[in-house]
């Protein structure tokens, strides 16, 4: 694994105007190139806000973010050319077919012609969707939509891929296809930052995780070494519950 930081976060804070407490509160973190980093936390812990700032969508209230050594707010075009973002929602046009969606997003990345067509065909085949590519997204199952949602973030071969709960609400088979594919992508050098509520998935998938709560990282490390640190915990879920509590979060 390359030990250059792909992402360096320094004292990152996000305070929403309508909220009393900061959503992200002085976060410091380094994610190395080639890592699969899992950002785990209960609802409202600050995962999505953190990812939104890393993807240049939200401006931090305070603090700095470096991606591949470049400060984000001053190098947005450079950063956006190197990152891929797969949102938690199915960010696709329901009335368009899979191919029409991918053509549109490919064009938005500046891709066109044969290059784009080849990429689309490759990814559709890789996710076993080639024969259904001319159907409208609204006719797809949840798992199929998730796969297209993922492809739309991969068309420009990003160096860093941000995934906000990429397997939420889908069948086991689709989840397995996605995770195996992402592992393969990571082997080819893509750094992956991933948020999830699925502790078992994160335990098997991530090379390192960070547990975030109330906008702060409260634990981080490789899943196995974290589990080893807590004698009374057998898995990541036990650690998660121990650190974030059993009170329901809305």
């Amino acid at each position: 694994m390359n030990q250059q930081p792909a992402i360096a976060i320094v004292d990152l804070t996000k305070q929403y105007a309508q909220s009393e407490k900061p959503a992200v509160d002085g976060l410091n973190l380094q994610i190395m190139q080639g890592e699969i980093f899992g950002l785990l936390g209960p609802n409202g812990a600050g995962k999505t806000t953190t990812v939104s700032m890393l993807c240049t969508h939200l401006e931090p209230t305070k603090g700095l973010i470096y991606i591949n050594g470049k400060e984000v707010s001053e190098n947005q075009l450079f950063i956006r050319n190197r990152i891929g973002f797969v949102p938690q929602d199915i960010a696709l046009y329901e009335e368009l077919t899979a191919k029409e969606n991918l053509h549109f997003f490919g064009n938005m990345f500046g891709l066109k012609g044969k290059t784009l067509q080849n990429k689309i065909d490759y990814w559709l085949d890789a996710f076993n969707l080639g024969d259904k590519s001319k159907k409208k997204i609204k006719t797809y199952s949840g798992g199929m939509k998730r796969r297209i949602n993922l492809i739309a973030g991969l068309l420009h071969n990003p160096e860093i891929l941000f995934l906000d709960e990429p397997t939420v609400g889908i069948d086991v088979q689709s989840k397995n296809v996605i995770i195996e594919f992402l592992k393969e992508l990571n082997k080819q050098g893509t750094t992956i930052v991933y948020t999830s509520h699925h502790m078992d998935e994160a335990e098997n998938f991530c090379s390192r995780i960070g547990i975030i709560d109330h906008g702060k990282i409260i634990a981080k490390g490789a899943p196995a070494s974290l589990i080893a640190q807590y004698d009374d915990c057998n898995n990541l879920e036990d650690i998660f519950l121990k650190l974030t509590g059993r009170t329901l979060r809305d």
Binding site: E59, A91, E95
Partner: protein, 427 residues
């Protein structure tokens, strides 16, 4: 930049073509509105012209007054007169009440006699006693006015009622003049033995010329089509606000907007693509509506939309500005509101209010001072004013400059508002 713009246009077109309810709303609704409103208003425009008011008249007067009133009404272009013979006043009243006639007129018995006696008395008092002693004028029974009863259908409009009463007063005045003339003629004959001759070349003392205040002799006669086609074209163009705002909100709630914002480069080409599609949609709507006014409405017996060859450029420029204004408003609503329901409710109601203020349904000159002041802030008023200037006043491009600038200003303010709102939200 071009790749993104074209991709965005292509995507928006596909989404629009596949959204049948939205397309129906944008094309069928205004077409239906124009047809229905033009047919409805056609009779209103014609009512004082081709479609004459139906009048039943019962003349119980045997003199010239009753005869002249009937003759005057029959000669008028305003009325279709039916003379009631062998009918009672109650019978006539019942016919009007049942809606068979709009107006019923009863000239009461002895009306001419009453007028003559009253005038005789007036004239008699104007002469010195030494003269009046030498003549005999019938003034017995003077002091009682001639009576004309007018019965109106209860549903008749106040303005129509006033028109009818004015016409009756005009005919009465004419008859009175004739009686005055004949009374004086009789006096002269009795006093001086002189027979007055009737004028062989009567001159109308005041001639009223009815003319349109248009700058060219070729001005167009306003009719229901000339009003409704531009009015509902405007209304239709502004209704693109609903699908456009809905489209923006859908992109935001589905996460597509978030995805687009994390892509390299500006979101401007994507936004421009969206704007271009809805902007041209406004143009297509206008074209469909104007073509309907020219070719379809006449087939249904309605007046044809009269567009002269030198008006097309001005129409093009104005429609461009209207489409821009509507698109800007849609972007603003789509940016500010958080759900499609909110946007469609606010969008449709606000367009209806702006249309009402803009004079789409009620002409602005008929509004109260407050409403007239408010109407100056409606972009639909600017658009309608511009269309009227082109189609009815034949003002050309110079007559729409202010309206075009106001509409383009509205577009810029809307887009700026949306941008500032978005910027504040991102921060």
């Amino acid at each position: 930049m071009w790749t993104k713009f074209i991709a965005s246009v292509k995507k928006e077109l596909l989404l629009l073509i596949r959204d049948i309810p939205a397309l129906s709303m944008l094309f069928l609704m205004p077409v239906t509105l124009v047809l229905v409103m033009t047919m409805l208003q056609d009779s209103t425009f014609k009512i004082l012209d081709e479609q004459r008011l139906s009048i039943i008249i019962l003349n119980n007067d045997t003199g010239s007054f009753g005869k002249n009133i009937v003759k005057g009404l029959q000669a008028s272009k305003l009325f279709k007169v039916t003379t009631a013979h062998n009918s009672s006043v109650d019978g006539l009243k019942s016919k009007v009440a049942k809606g068979k006639f709009t107006i019923g007129i009863v000239v009461n018995k002895g009306a001419t006699q009453s007028i003559t006696k009253n005038l005789n008395r007036e004239i008699y008092h104007q002469f010195p006693e030494e003269i009046t002693a030498a003549v005999t004028l019938d003034t017995v029974g003077a002091g009682v006015s001639a009576k004309v009863d007018v019965f109106f259908d209860p549903v008749i409009k106040y303005s129509v009622k006033q028109s009818v009463l004015s016409a009756l007063r005009e005919f009465s005045a004419g008859v009175e003049s004739e009686i005055i003339y004949s009374t004086y003629a009789s006096l002269f004959k009795q006093l001086l033995g002189v027979e007055m001759k009737k004028s062989t070349h009567p001159v109308q003392l005041v001639e009223i010329h009815e003319q349109k205040a248009a700058t060219e002799a070729t001005s167009t006669i306003p009719n229901s089509t000339q009003h409704n086609v531009p009015a509902y074209t405007l209304f239709a163009i502004f209704f693109i606000v609903i699908p456009l705002a809905g489209n923006i909100i859908k992109e935001r709630t589905s996460g597509v907007a978030l995805r687009l914002k994390t892509m390299p480069g500006s979101v401007v080409p994507s936004l421009l693509g969206k704007t271009a599609v809805y902007f041209f949609l406004g143009f297509i709507q206008a074209t469909v509506m104007f073509l309907m006014g020219i070719f379809i409405l006449p087939l249904m017996g309605l007046p044809q939309l009269n567009i002269q060859s030198n008006q097309w450029m001005a129409l093009l420029i104005l429609t461009f500005a209207i489409s821009m204004a509507a698109t800007g408003y849609g972007i603003l609503i789509g940016t500010i509101f958080t759900s499609q329901t909110q946007a469609s409710i606010f969008g449709s109601i606000s367009v209806v209010i702006l249309a009402a203020l803009g004079g789409i349904w009620v002409p602005i000159f008929m509004m109260s001072d407050l409403m007239q002041t408010l109407s100056r802030f409606s972009p639909l008023n600017w658009g309608l004013h511009g269309y009227y200037n082109i189609l009815l006043r034949h003002s050309g491009i110079s007559g729409i400059t202010t309206d075009v600038f106001l509409l383009l200003g509205f577009f810029m303010v809307s887009v700026l508002g949306a941008w500032l709102y978005q910027k504040r939200k991102k921060g």
